[in-house]
Symmetry: C2
Subunit: 200 residues, 2 copies
């Protein structure tokens, strides 16, 4: 028969939660977020569907928590550039590295980030987190960096840091997401290069 999940097994809450998170992530490696259903996740865990709700509010809560495991890493990589020296050519090199590393993160966590982006369009809470915990923070950081560059005379003075940063971040985000966040399209040194080249 099909619904046989074997005898009940009782796990420590923390283990169960990890199991579910892993199942969710595994699911997203194979399917887009739109196909993610609570049932679809839980069959992979040996637990019943209702068990899911003991640990997560809903599937949006799940992807949000998956994002937490990525957010830190993403920032760790970007800080290199954002807090780097303001020097001319040197800074340029740092930027290249940061972008490469950042892209690498996208390659690795692409499916999860992709899911977050999709979920943001479906759930107000996810949109909130996505926008404010990730995007907006990046924008603020980049804006600060730009301000410094403007003061140092590296960037033209008639640039609005805030608005320019927003453009930069959103633009990069979208392109990276489309390039690395989908199952079909995959890495390629070249594409990483293009990201950099396009940003000048």
């Amino acid at each position: 028969m099909s619904g046989d999940r074997g005898p009940r097994r009782r796990r420590r809450p923390e283990e169960a939660e990890r199991t579910i998170l892993a199942a969710g992530r595994a699911f997203l490696e194979e399917h887009p977020f739109r196909e993610m259903t609570v049932e679809g996740i839980m069959v992979r865990t040996g637990l019943s569907r209702p068990a899911f709700y003991a640990y997560f509010r809903d599937r949006y809560d799940l992807v949000t928590r998956l994002l937490e495991g990525v957010g830190g890493l993403l920032f760790a990589l970007d800080w290199h550039w954002l807090s780097g020296a303001v020097g001319g050519d040197e800074a340029r090199e740092v930027l290249v590295d940061a972008l490469r590393a950042g892209s690498q993160t996208f390659v690795e966590y692409g499916p999860v980030l992709r899911a977050i982006a999709d979920a943001a369009g479906q759930d107000a809470k996810v949109e909130e987190v996505y926008r404010n915990r990730l995007i907006e923070r990046l924008i603020v950081a980049v804006a600060a960096r730009i301000s410094r560059d403007v003061e140092a005379g590296i960037s033209p003075g008639d640039l609005d840091p805030e608005e320019t940063a927003r453009a930069l971040v959103l633009m990069t985000e979208r392109y990276l997401l489309d390039t690395f966040g989908r199952p079909e399209r995959r890495p390629s040194r070249e594409q990483t290069e293009v990201v950099f080249a396009t940003l000048e």
Copy 2:
């Protein structure tokens, strides 16, 4: 009572369809796509929910058709730049105008475009249309333009037209969507300027 839609009224199919399209559009002026429900649309039409299915397969079909009313206009505006002369400073001016005009389209049809983008994450068919009827076409067009620029020596020769075009389009799309496609954030000459400035 509340459910009283009055006596049945029989319309010409074409009128009914227009009415529903209008209702859908009006709905999107006030709510994000995620809140759009067939019932929510139909109450605005004086028709019953099932009537919807006589004209549209589902709500994704509805937004797709709404997009059709926008696509042509969007292209009409962009062609100016895409097919414009290859000249140096002159082309630059044309590009500014095209972007302004394009942004104008986003302001006007922002809610619909926004809905399409959101729906693309939820429905494979919409994603297909969004990507292939809009984004990909723009990419191809822009790539052609870039190729010409490269040949003419205007743009650096080590640029991959296809990949660069993809980056350009996706980047612009995202920024415009975020800037003009949301109820809160709204136009501003300055933002239009930034779009242009960031693209060099």
